[in-house]
Symmetry: C2
Subunit: 175 residues, 2 copies
């Protein structure tokens, strides 16, 4: 099981990046996202996507991040541009254990660096926690997450041009 | 050369996602970002990062997206959840040609699907253009982009704990 812990989310101010973090977690194979700030709007948005597109993904906001990290049973991986190279750390992460992936916004409390089992850099350049999360999961799960089926009410059928959407009533729409 | 064309950016309303797109493009091996809406603030933000962290990355806002796509010499890849599977398309993209990667926000004009050489889905689930861009580039460049050096005024040294920043005056700071 893979859980993502999102730090530094500011509801109202920049809702979209945390939405991107959460939907990326879901699409790339994580099972749950915990957000350190309470945000009912974010919860509703994500649950609406899950209802529509399927899967058993969970979201919980307003969690105590320190308690989550300190009581976690399994490796805690903090994604940061200051960390060790992804290639160097990946083989060290024990497989089959519950993984906690910590992603921050601009400022992450110093304690997180000490509490994490691994501080991992997806490149040592400034970019985006969304990008770091996606590439970490893609590499960690060896690309297999992209071929998972979610069996939702709505499904997308890969298409060369346009949009092919299948609804669970088996009605085909080509828009 | 790899250029990213960003559509649907709304300055002021959601500046951060386009900043994430742009910095992700730079960190994951693209050479330039074109944004279809004029945004001097975004340009300044990105240029400040380039000045500090190095490389020759360029950003240009207020471009005519249709003209860019129509006059492009080389493959045009539109990243969309409705497209063909990434694994299926990657081997078809001719190497060594100038690549234009198109990423949208919520709504992308229908014409883009027709004008693109390939419509590519990084998974057929809703997530994030930042994630799609990062994973596409990581797969397209076979992970080599993460080990590139940018030779900037500021450099990050991979570290197990904390932050090791090197400045070009060779002064080491461990914060």
């Amino acid at each position: 099981m893979i859980t993502v812990l999102r730090l530094g989310h500011r509801p109202g101010r920049d809702p979209r990046v945390t939405t991107h973090v959460t939907l990326t977690a879901r699409a790339f194979g994580a099972d749950k996202v915990l957000v350190s700030t309470k945000d009912p709007v974010l919860e509703r948005t994500v649950r609406a996507v899950v209802t529509k597109f399927g899967g058993s993904f969970e979201v919980e906001t307003g969690v105590q991040w320190r308690r989550v990290i300190e009581t976690w049973r399994g490796p805690v991986v903090h994604l940061t541009m200051y960390g060790e190279a992804l290639d160097a750390v990946l083989p060290k992460i024990p497989p089959g254990e519950d993984l906690l992936l910590v992603v921050g916004a601009t400022k992450v409390p110093r304690d997180v660096y000490d509490l994490a089992t691994f501080n991992v850099a997806v490149g040592n350049q400034p970019h985006s926690e969304v990008a770091a999360l996606a590439v970490f999961l893609d590499r960690f799960l060896a690309g297999k997450e992209l071929t998972r089926t979610f069996a939702g009410r709505i499904g997308i059928v890969p298409s060369k041009r346009g949009k092919t959407v299948v609804e669970s009533e088996s009605s085909h729409r080509n828009r």
